[in-house]
């Protein structure tokens, strides 16, 4: 007896995509407002009224975040960071989403949302400190309205949904943006979050950056349908947007957040993009993806396309691009200096916030730790 199909057979490309890891053409359920060549195009459902200053701001955001990312990767290679999760290639998805948020909306990131962090005003060094092993994220999640990074895949989608249920109970006009990746869509908790969000019509938008790979495993192992189509099964809208088009991401996310604030419930956004770098600095993508695929995506670079548009439309001149370049250089210097000069945490600090109300046994363990270290000359404790 032979199996109908071999379990090692390569599965078909995800239906609806022209190629498994390349975006479908315009008009094929892909919202696009800026072509890869930098031409402004219209979409029947999503318009964007945006001035030159805001356009230049988006460019500046993306360029600075990319420089931060490049610097962090270099710092990891030089042993200053334990690991770094690069956002290279995903700048438009993250800046578009981050800038779509209103000041009092709340974000629930994964561990790669450095661009969203930037848009929320988080100091890059407060993100770097996590990857240096100084803390688990140095920013204030309440003041920035940007939660701390969540490393367990998909867990934050439930947190965002619960937070949105709180927003509902408070009668507040706020929305929640919960981030996830393509791999996370396979997690039970992510599916539970969507069920909860739908059942309670919670004001939460699920923003999925489909960067085509969950470390090494391609999208087609996670889903037999395009991800945005999953939303229909949960009972709310799903939209696929060109994740390398910052204008389209901005327009689609703004609309979804507005709908959530107005009580229309959740939306699932699939930002179709590509992770140009490795999953993290510990990864080697040459083992699982083709160089030709990377070359294809280089032609769709999110920053280059906005630069082309700005130049061609006259919204920015060479002086502007030079100024951003100079600012990026300064940022890189600040990040480098801030990283290498970052002090280690006090050893006793690991005991200090385990509980809001410290327990006597843990206080005793802390005291033992202090006594033990005090018995050595030159102890830090």
């Amino acid at each position: 007896m032979t199996a109908k199909t071999s379990i090692t057979e390569v599965v078909d490309p995800v239906p609806g995509a022209d190629a498994p890891h390349l975006p479908p053409g315009r008009g094929q359920d892909l919202v696009q407002l800026l072509t890869p060549e930098g031409d402004r195009v219209e979409h029947p459902d999503y318009s964007l009224d945006i001035g030159d200053e805001e356009l230049r701001g988006l460019y500046r955001d993306m360029a600075l975040v990319r420089r931060w990312d490049v610097e962090a990767t270099a710092l990891q290679r030089q042993g200053e960071l334990g690991i770094w999760a690069s956002l290279l290639g995903q700048e438009a998805a993250q800046i578009g989403a981050g800038r779509a948020m209103a000041a009092d909306d709340m974000a629930f990131p994964t561990y790669r949302e450095h661009g969203v962090a930037w848009a929320r005003g988080v100091d890059p060094l407060h993100v770097i400190s996590l990857f240096r092993g100084v803390d688990n994220g140095g920013w204030d999640p309440v003041a920035t309205r940007f939660n701390l990074y969540t490393v367990v895949i998909g867990a934050q989608c439930l947190h965002g949904t619960g937070y949105a249920m709180g927003v509902q109970r408070d009668g507040a006009e706020q929305a929640v943006l919960a981030f996830l990746g393509d791999g996370a869509t396979s997690q039970g908790e992510v599916n539970e979050a969507m069920i909860w969000a739908a059942s309670f019509s919670a004001p939460v938008v699920f923003f999925c950056q489909n960067n085509q790979y969950a470390i090494s495993v391609p999208l087609e192992r996670q889903s037999r349908v395009p991800l945005y189509q999953r939303a229909a099964g949960f009972g709310f809208p799903g939209v696929r947007v060109d994740g390398n088009d910052v204008l389209a991401v901005l327009a689609v996310t703004r609309a979804a957040l507005a709908a959530a604030r107005e009580g229309q419930g959740p939306t699932f956004i699939e930002a179709f993009t590509y992770r140009m770098g490795a999953h993290t600095t510990s990864d080697d993508p040459s083992r699982y993806r083709l160089a030709s695929e990377l070359e294809e995506w280089k032609l769709r670079d999110p920053i280059a396309r906005l630069k082309a548009h700005l130049s061609r439309s006259g919204a920015a001149d060479a002086a502007f691009f030079d100024a951003v370049e100079a600012e990026a250089d300064e940022l890189a210097v600040r990040i480098r200096r801030g990283t290498v000069e970052m002090p280690d945490p006090a050893p006793t600090s690991m005991f200090d916030h385990v509980y809001a109300e410290q327990t006597p046994p843990l206080a005793a363990q802390r005291a033992e730790f202090v006594d033990y270290h005090a018995s050595f000359e030159g102890s830090r404790a």
């Binding site: 619960g162 249920m165 109970r169 909860w196 809001a356 109300e357 327990t359």
Partner: protein
């Protein structure tokens, strides 16, 4: 003084009602807790009086209950999550261990998780698989969680209110086979602290430690032992994490002997940690090694065998004999 004779179940119900009256941010979440009032009726009538926004019949997914509770807590709410049965907590285990327990430390104190996870625990009700377990050690081993186990209506009434008011996440274990046990509860009393053990019967020969459903078993054993002229001191631990062992140390220094009783599997259970603590602290007072009476290191068996699995009066007395003979 207002006193009422209450079952543990009713005491929990009244305690939850009081907590909801005291703080509008208290939200109950769980499966079947609304119209039905929970499979054990612990939340009976609460949805009718407080509405569907505060007593939430959730979709059937335990990770969802705990994960959304995290978000609600971040928003300033105080979620009280009911896990229908002990063995059903494991789908939520990821959220409890990786998120609920760690959020306060992760955020260096900026985010609190005042979440209560109510779990009817333990065996003895003739149930099918997954309805009779004692998972406390998993949670006690997790930094960031606190774990308490009530044994009587007084602690049930006050303990649930104290747990809800506390700023840290608390696994609140309810002895399901004792839900119908009654006692007089003084509703105007000043309650004992939540995280404190209590000597519930004085004695001189052997110290017996228990919590939750095994407190009654330990007291029955003490009663039987008394008829044979043996005086057992029984301590209701009440809090499993943090442990409050100072009263235990004081007792063991007098008796020199100690037996720890719990339904959970013996190996690497709470008894192991308690035995180590007592040995470290009271070594020179001990006349015998600390002995453990617990469930066996098997899955909880089919109910026709649960009487063989669960510690009972005779197994406690057997351990007492072995301790005294040492």
């Amino acid at each position: 003084m207002t006193t009422e004779v209450l079952t543990i179940g009713k005491a929990l119900n009244l305690g939850l009602r009081k907590a909801m009256e005291d703080d509008a941010k208290v939200v109950l979440m769980g499966e079947d807790i609304g119209k039905l009032g929970g499979v054990f009726r612990i939340t009976d009538g609460l949805q009718k009086d407080f509405g569907e926004a505060r007593v939430v019949d959730t979709p059937l997914a335990e990770a969802g209950i705990l994960g959304t509770a995290v978000g609600l807590a971040m928003r300033g709410y105080r979620p009280v999550c009911e896990i229908q049965f002990d063995g059903f907590v494991f789908p939520a285990y990821n959220q409890i261990v990786t998120q609920v327990a760690k959020m306060h430390a992760r955020s260096r104190g900026m985010l609190s998780m005042p979440i209560v996870i109510r779990i009817p625990f333990g065996g003895g009700i003739g149930a099918v698989e997954h309805h009779s377990e004692s998972p406390e050690a998993y949670f006690a081993h997790t930094a960031g969680l606190k774990v308490v186990a009530v044994s009587n209506p007084v602690d049930a009434y006050w303990g649930i209110q104290q747990a809800i008011a506390a700023p840290d996440p608390i696994v609140f274990l309810e002895p399901k086979r004792r839900y119908w046990e009654k006692a007089e509860v003084d509703l105007d009393a000043t309650p004992d602290p939540l995280f404190a053990s209590r000597v519930v019967r004085g004695g001189d020969d052997v110290t017996v430690l228990a919590y939750g459903p095994m407190v009654k078993t330990a007291l029955q054993a003490a009663e039987a032992a008394a008829e044979e002229g043996r005086s057992l001191e029984v301590v209701d631990l009440r809090t499993v994490s943090p442990l409050d062992l100072d009263p235990v140390f004081a007792s063991v220094r007098r008796t020199g002997r100690c037996v720890v009783v719990h339904e959970a599997p013996t190996s690497l259970g709470l008894g192991a940690e308690i035995a180590a603590r007592i040995t470290e602290t009271c070594f020179h007072s001990l006349e015998a090694p600390v002995l453990r009476v617990g469930g066996y290191d098997t899955p909880y068996p089919p109910s026709k065998l649960e009487e063989d699995y669960l510690p009972d009066l005779d197994r406690v007395l057997d351990a007492v004999d072995r301790s005294l003979e040492f």
